[in-house]
């Protein structure tokens, strides 16, 4: 792990204000969408982000939010770069991100077992898939067989 310079750390701290517009409890760092922060010798900041899904419409908003937040902290020449490789997977989501998702009522992607999805409300493992596709590309619709509540699941990718 390369240690971060003071400016990189300050930029990362500032970027904690940028959340996913469709999952407002998660910062882009929690989600693993924030890939890198570099500062060149002239002090120019470059932020690298990666989409969760190829067509994720949140990317344009996130790019704008990063520029706006950094400008607010005085880095008004920041460049935001989007990369596809290595491809984002749910493995990039932090444990903190998974915990926040569950608290928000969205079943987080499991680290291993794909079929075992617990109801974020009652905790039952007896849940069923309603549809592989939900309100955003990254989520599926499920329902709990015990408490009968429908819920969203951040699907493993």
């Amino acid at each position: 792990m390369v240690s971060l310079g003071p400016v990189e750390s300050a930029v990362r701290e500032a970027l904690a204000e940028v959340t996913d517009p469709e999952l407002p409890v998660l910062t882009i760092e929690d989600l693993g969408v924030l890939r890198d922060v570099t500062v060149d010798q002239d002090g120019r900041v470059e932020v690298t982000i990666t989409p969760t899904y190829s067509g994720c419409p949140a990317m344009d908003v996130i790019r704008g939010d990063v520029e706006r937040v950094l400008a607010g902290h005085g880095w008004d020449n920041a460049v935001v770069r989007t990369v596809l490789s290595p491809a984002w997977t749910t493995g990039w989501m932090s444990d903190e991100g998974r915990r926040k998702l569950a608290e928000f009522g969205i079943a987080p992607p499991g680290p291993v077992a794909v079929d075992l999805v617990r109801c974020p409300r009652c905790g039952s493992a007896e849940t069923r898939l309603v549809s592989r596709f939900g309100s955003t590309p990254c989520k599926a619709l499920r329902a709990c067989r015990r408490c009968l509540e429908p819920f969203e699941h951040f699907k493993p990718l």
């Binding site: 190829s54 490789s85 549809s131 592989r132 309100s135």
Partner: protein, 261 residues
């Protein structure tokens, strides 16, 4: 032309093919928005369209870069005419009933899945990146379409009849997916592209597995579509349906150049 310029020209043409496939099918699928048989399905079809649109954006942006003439993804999507589109004819076919949409999706997603799996190892970093990103999305599309083909094929007499008719109607357009030409030969030789004929076995196993579970037949043995092998999409020759699709997709951009949301 130098070797580098020749490769760039090939990359432009290849990225355009891949991008046009994704773009045209995305446009077709959005025609279902607010019209699908159930809310969940409406959302599913729009999500599949969105994934494909994202892939198309990356591919058309890359096509524009390799061309080096300053064309953006929007220029390529909105300012080319029908004969300049090099998508396969399968993706431009009208939605028909829900069974036709699902047959078309299964056939295309199974093809795209086999293609992206291989393309993820391309010597071209951008194509490899797009494919590695898209391959898991496409696996969801193929599962979704396959699930419906099984449910409808192995459903009621009426759903079986319509699913069988849809498979028969879409099948002739699948032949074109596996046709090689000079471009694919050169790019496969350079380790950049994939020879389409290499995908046939994996595709057949995938599709035949679904069809057999759905109690459906594979390629039509008789009737008007047996032996019919339409092709030409890669050379810009299309069925009559693409022009109408492009008219709807491009109208706003062409009527109001530079318009922004």
């Amino acid at each position: 032309m130098s070797a580098g310029a020749a490769l760039a020209a090939d990359l432009f043409a290849y990225a355009l093919r891949l991008g046009d496939d994704a773009l045209v099918l995305a446009q077709r699928l959005t025609e279902w928005s607010s019209r699908a048989p159930a809310l969940e399905e409406d959302i599913a079809l729009s999500n599949i369209a969105l994934d494909l649109l994202g892939q198309a954006r990356a591919l058309l942006t890359y096509a524009g870069e390799t061309e080096g003439a300053g064309r953006s993804e929007d220029d390529l999507a909105y300012l080319r005419s029908e004969r300049e589109f090099t998508n396969c004819q399968l993706v431009e076919q009208p939605n028909g009933d829900f069974a036709v949409t699902m047959a078309r999706q299964l056939f295309f997603s199974a093809y795209q899945l086999a293609l992206y799996r291989r393309l993820a190892a391309s010597a071209d970093a951008t194509l490899a990146g797009v494919a590695a990103k898209g391959v898991k999305e496409v696996a969801y599309h193929a599962d979704h379409a396959g699930g419906w083909v099984v449910r409808l094929g192995d459903g009621t007499a009426e759903s079986h009849r319509r699913m069988a008719a849809a498979v028969e109607q879409m099948w002739p357009f699948t032949h074109e997916l596996f046709e090689a030409d000079e471009l694919t030969g050169r790019l496969a030789g350079a380790g950049v592209g994939v020879e389409p004929s290499e995908l046939a076995t994996e595709w057949e196993e995938h599709v035949e597995g679904v069809l057999s579970e759905a109690t459906l037949q594979g390629p039509p043995q008789s009737g008007e579509s047996a032996g019919w092998r339409p092709a030409g999409g890669r050379r810009g020759v299309h069925t009559e349906h693409l022009g109408y699709l492009l008219a709807e997709m491009q109208h706003l951009h062409r009527s109001h150049p530079g318009a922004q949301w």
